[in-house]
């Protein structure tokens, strides 16, 4: 599709992901044992024949820059088109952070104006799904739409997380409510929009801030040709701890709704070279995904292990998401937890002990323990659920070797202590 440019909105800092997004954009969050969340959108673009992609990044863009680079894993290192990371910038007359999704696009309009695609596909970098965008474009064309949004059915109790959409029989959008407590609508907007270039340009003239409230809704209200296209596959916005955890664990269900082992639609990523997974004579791994470079001497159940994780002898990891190069020493137990990169669980320590629900203001932890990047749980230490240990957390954060349920420990970085 030569005349299409995709814009991936990856600005989100993911406040609801706590320590996991302290130093990275949600889109750059590791997912599924070897991927980053944005790999799903980028791979969808690649397989759908979209060769020109702009990534709008604001929060911790280094994590995305590093990952995407020149775009080679997605064959986006091209002379024509390719991938470009669009960060907020200054000009002589103007300087400003992106105030919202529509503003982010407006601030980069010069870039789009020069390339003049016929259509603009707006995506979110925070979603995990496999989708052929060609079906969306086909529906858009057949209906002669100005805008087409992808929608999917969501449970009635989830409406407050989404923009809810009602359509007529022909698929034309009648109402669009943003995050209603309750709604008659059964379909949520997936944050995937096809815009006719001219329609989008016209709407951006008034310097809107938000794409849904200031662009889409006025278009619907004005009776423009806004259509919905239903998507039936697995789709998850991983912007919360609960949804991030749930989407990861979906991969180790007996019949996962999100299939990674399908060579017709591989999820492409920037891969490091690591040796094969090595399992010792006492290893035991079931219902799990384990990436290259791991060394397993203990027990792993219903878990996702990223590259280079070490599980020592006698250690047990259950219902956990364990990111790259985490070390779980011998005899340690990890239960219902998310461990960020390079964290270390000392010998015999327990992460995710107890079964307390935790205080109401920690609902966002979904009953889990989060362990920040580079954090260290001391040997024999116990971390009660739910709790969150900051980036670089260490022994001093524990009271007599215990971190009580409901604890939220802030980030520690040596360079912050210098300030």
């Amino acid at each position: 599709m030569r005349n299409v440019m995709a814009l991936i909105l990856s600005g989100g800092g993911g406040e609801r992901l706590g320590v996991l997004s302290a130093e990275r954009a949600v889109s750059a969050l590791p997912f599924g044992g070897k991927y980053r969340v944005i790999d799903f959108s980028l791979s969808n673009c690649c397989h759908s024949g979209i060769g020109h992609v702009g990534v709008l990044a604001q929060h911790a863009p280094a994590s995305l820059n590093d990952h995407i680079g020149a775009g080679r894993p997605w064959d986006l290192d091209r002379r024509q088109g390719g991938v470009v990371i669009l960060q907020p910038f200054q000009t002589r007359s103007h300087a400003g952070w992106y105030r919202g999704t529509a503003d982010a696009i407006t601030q980069n309009w010069d870039y789009l104006e020069e390339r003049r695609p016929d259509r603009v596909l707006v995506l979110s970098g925070d979603h995990v799904y496999r989708m052929d965008y060609r079906a969306l474009f086909l529906a858009h064309e057949q209906r002669g739409a100005s805008v087409t949004l992808a929608v999917t059915r969501v449970p009635a109790d989830q409406t407050r997380r989404f923009g809810m959409v009602t359509m007529d029989r022909g698929g034309r959008v009648r109402t669009l409510e943003e995050k209603p407590e309750r709604s008659a609508a059964s379909h949520a907007s997936m944050g995937i929009y096809v815009f006719e270039f001219d329609v989008l340009r016209e709407m951006l003239r008034s310097r809107p801030v938000d794409l849904v409230l200031d662009v889409l809704r006025p278009l619907v209200d004005a009776g423009e040709r806004v259509y919905a296209h239903e998507f039936n596959g697995f789709w998850e916005d991983v912007g919360t701890v609960a949804s991030y955890y749930r989407a990861n664990l979906e991969l180790v269900q007996p019949e996962p709704r999100l299939q990674l082992h399908d060579s017709r639609w591989p999820i492409l990523t920037r891969d490091e070279e690591r040796p094969a997974v090595l399992l010792s004579g006492d290893a035991s791994v079931e219902d799990s995904l384990v990436a290259n470079g791991c060394v397993i001497e203990g027990r792993v159940e219903r878990s996702i292990l990223f590259a280079g994780v070490r599980v020592g002898p006698g250690a047990a990891v259950r219902d956990a998401v364990v990111m790259a190069d985490v070390v779980i020493d011998g005899g340690a137990r990890v239960n219902r937890a998310i461990l960020d990169k390079y964290a270390r669980v000392g010998e015999g320590a327990v992460v995710g002990d107890g079964d307390e629900p935790g205080p109401p203001d920690l609902q966002w932890l979904a009953g889990l323990v989060l362990v920040g990047k580079d954090a260290w749980v001391p040997p024999g230490g116990r971390v009660m659920r739910p709790a969150s240990i900051g980036v670089g957390g260490r022994y001093e954060d524990f009271i007599d070797g215990v971190l009580p349920s409901g604890s939220v420990v802030g980030n520690r970085r040596w360079y912050e202590e210098l300030r």
């Binding site: 599924g32 070897k34 891969d271 070279e273 094969a276 399992l279 010792s280 290893a283 791994v285 995904l289």
Partner: protein
């Protein structure tokens, strides 16, 4: 720093590897769960800072060409230097098939002459080892050597398989015997790693090309001649692991050695990564009921059955109830439900039917077709072979590439052979 460059000899037949190198060059034979044998040498080069490499191929180069491509995994896709595959080509004099290792370089003399730098590093693509070639250069320069040969100590029983060197205490080589039959006083074997003074090498190659009766081989002709003349030929003693995986048995043992408590090479060392071409594959999926012990399993595998003491390459599927024991299973092979694979090497993309038994019984007569290479009890199954449901295959059997279910009329006895379709050439 002068630009360093290396030639990797990758043309060998590897006939002792039987089926594994029947349709691919030995350096392209898969090894260690995800690598090809040549990856070790290529990675040694780039990890040593050598980014200008010629790979000399001759025998069935397709799989090597495909594997190396433009050299991206090794950061060899460069504007200056990089990797070049050097196939024999007619049309320019001298031109013909490469007659021997020295001839291979001689036929690329123009390629060599275009390169500057005082030394030429010549390597073999057949060996498993991690070596910092900078140490070799330093040794070579300190000795003002014409040639430095890297050597390693081999067991007495194996000396007849190698080029054996006798040395003075300072490392100077006094005698060079290629695959000696009789008793020798040294167990120092050439690793096929030579560092030549560039001008000396060019002179030697030109001279050798004119000698009637020469086999144009470094080990048989060039080095013995040079040693006999009393030139400065030195042996650099390499202290670490080095393995020639030239036979099926040594190939099998070398692979399985990586499963032990103390693997011969640290593949996890971030400072010395073994790079390879790897397809984008998802992490290994362990299904409920999987039991994997003492094994290496690579991304893309899906395991529902039992795996022990085995090496599984990317994309292998082990169905529920299947057992893989003491085996090497290459890319994308499927082990059907209830099948048992015991002491076997199964090449890529094969299908083992449900309830099949591969490697079965106590009888071990050597293989009928290659008795000298297949006699220790291993079963070898060729690429894309399809084994029917419930088939029994005895030990030391050889199942050819691309055989199909209909090629099996009865159980395959120990030492048996089932041949697939003839290769097109």
């Amino acid at each position: 720093m002068t630009t360093r460059y290396a030639y990797i000899l990758a043309g060998g037949l590897g006939s002792r590897l039987c089926l594994l190198s029947e349709r691919r060059a030995k350096p392209a034979v898969p090894f260690g769960g995800k690598y090809r044998i040549i990856d070790f040498t290529l990675s040694n080069c780039v990890n040593s800072g050598i980014f200008d490499i010629g790979v000399l191929t001759q025998y069935r180069p397709t799989s090597l060409n495909e594997h190396i491509g433009i050299g991206r995994p090794w950061d060899l896709d460069r504007s200056h230097g990089g990797v070049q595959l050097l196939q024999p080509a007619p049309g320019t004099a001298p031109s013909d098939w490469y007659q021997g290792t020295a001839d291979a370089i001689y036929q690329n003399l123009m390629h060599l002459k275009r390169r500057r730098g005082d030394e030429v590093l010549i390597l073999s693509g057949d060996h498993i080892y991690k070596m910092d070639y900078n140490v070799l250069y330093a040794f070579h320069r300190a000795n003002h050597a014409s040639v430095t040969v890297a050597v390693t100590e081999v067991p007495e029983k194996d000396v007849s398989q190698f080029g054996i060197m006798e040395t003075e205490p300072n490392g100077r080589i006094t005698a060079f015997k290629e695959k000696p039959r009789g008793p020798v006083s040294s167990r120092l074997a050439s690793m096929g790693v030579y560092l030549f003074d560039r001008d000396t090498l060019i002179r030697l190659l030109v001279e050798d090309a004119g000698i009637a009766g020469s086999t144009h081989d470094f080990g048989k002709d060039i080095l013995p001649r040079l040693v006999a003349r009393g030139a400065g030929v030195f042996a650099y003693r390499f202290p670490d692991y080095w393995q020639d995986v030239g036979t099926l048995d040594s190939y099998y043992e070398a692979n399985l050695a990586f499963l032990g408590e103390r693997p011969p090479l640290d593949l996890h060392d971030p400072a010395w990564i073994i790079h390879t071409q790897s397809a984008d594959r998802p992490p290994v999926r362990f299904i409920h009921g999987a039991a994997v012990r003492h094994s290496m399993v690579t991304n893309g595998c899906v395991i529902a059955g039992e795996v022990s003491h085995s090496v599984l390459f990317p994309g292998v599927v082990v169905a529920p109830g299947a057992v893989v024991r003491d085996s090497i299973v290459m890319h994308d092979t499927i082990i059907g439900p209830g099948a048992v694979v015991d002491r076997a090497i199964v090449d890529k993309e094969a299908v083992v039917g449900a309830e099949a038994r591969v490697g079965f019984g106590d009888e071990m007569p050597p293989n009928r077709a290659c008795p000298e290479h297949l006699s220790s009890g291993l079963v070898v199954v060729g690429k894309r072979a399809r084994l029917p449901e419930g088939i029994h295959i005895g030990r030391n059997a050889r199942i050819g590439a691309q055989v199909v279910e209909a090629d099996f009329t009865a159980p395959v006895p120990a030492g048996g052979v089932v041949d697939g379709p003839e290769s097109m050439h």
